[in-house]
Amino acid sequence: MSFLDNLIGDPKYQSNPPRQPAEVADVDIVSPDTRRENRIPPGQSRTKKWPVLDAHGTPEVDLATWSFAVDGLVDNPLQWSLDEFMQLPAVKVYADFHCVTRWSRLDNVWGGVATKEIAKLVGIKPEAKFVLALAYDYGWTTNVPIEYFLNEDSLFAWSHDGQPIPPEHGGPVRLIIPQLYAWKSAKWVKGVRFLEHDQAGYWEEGGYHMRGVPWGPGDGERFRWS
């Protein structure tokens, strides 16, 4: 594929080698995994594209009635409209993105609200140990240990490389947890629930890992059968 084809056919195509964190201006948080000497986890390969994967296809999300709700083990359950949500304090995070299907897209800048900010607003009860992210696509969910959810580089993102996140990539808002495999970064997120006990999400019910760290042991925490 020529440079021109890439430019016309795929605006998200990465023609250049990934930047080093020090070369990236105008971000608030640098995901620690981008500082690794080798940024590609075991068993992964770099893609310059941004592939689209999902369980059911892209859902119709009505922006006028979109809402984001936090419930479960919190002091103040809260709900926001899209306008209200995008008024929350925004951060920019520089991070890599690792899909369990063995591709990694390096060098992404995500914009949105930090998960820590949401946690501060709702007040998480001490017994909360896990988070279930809920999405707009037919009841899709994913479970995340609270410490990964609250990582400094985790956020609810509404922009990618300065542009709104396209619907097929999970817009208007998706969860981004750079330090776990990307299926934990729920597309079309509509809320989170704080739980005391871990509860398998959609892919986790099909044997995918309950945590999903890409860096090992072995070639990463992909499945509960391997």
């Binding site: 999902d54 369980a55 059911h56 369990v100 299907t101 398998a200 892919w203 986790e204 019910e205 099909g206 044997g207 995918y208 992909r222 499945f223 509960r224 059968w225």
Partner: protein
Amino acid sequence: MDNHSQLMTSFPLFKGFTENGTKRLLEAGEVTQHAPGEVLFKEGDTAEFVLLVLTGKLEVFVQRQGKDLVLTESGPGAILGELAVLCGIPRSASVRAKDASSTLKWSDEAFRSLLLRDHSLSQRVFSGALRTLVDKERSLIDSLIAAQTSS
């Protein structure tokens, strides 16, 4: 359905699945009961579905020179007919119920859709299918060597 979803979590192919996970696999197909002797598909048929054995026992066989040659018996947890579906070729053997049995039948389209969406399941199904082929090749080589040695 509850019984089947629970049963399926015990199959090695679905290790790590919860009952909600196997329920989704059941919803993508259709459970059918088979009386002993019932033929589920025949060698040469167009491959339009894949079977998962839930209970009982099925025989995989071919007919040559008027005789049945049973190639293998398949019990609960075995997948049958996936290679013909994936390769788009006619059935390479026939299958019949040896005992009273039940199967989960996925249409060609439903099976492909399951594999396309679920990276983990496709990895397991392909690895199982390829292992079966390698085992068959080994046993064929063994038979050839035995035939050469005896002749």
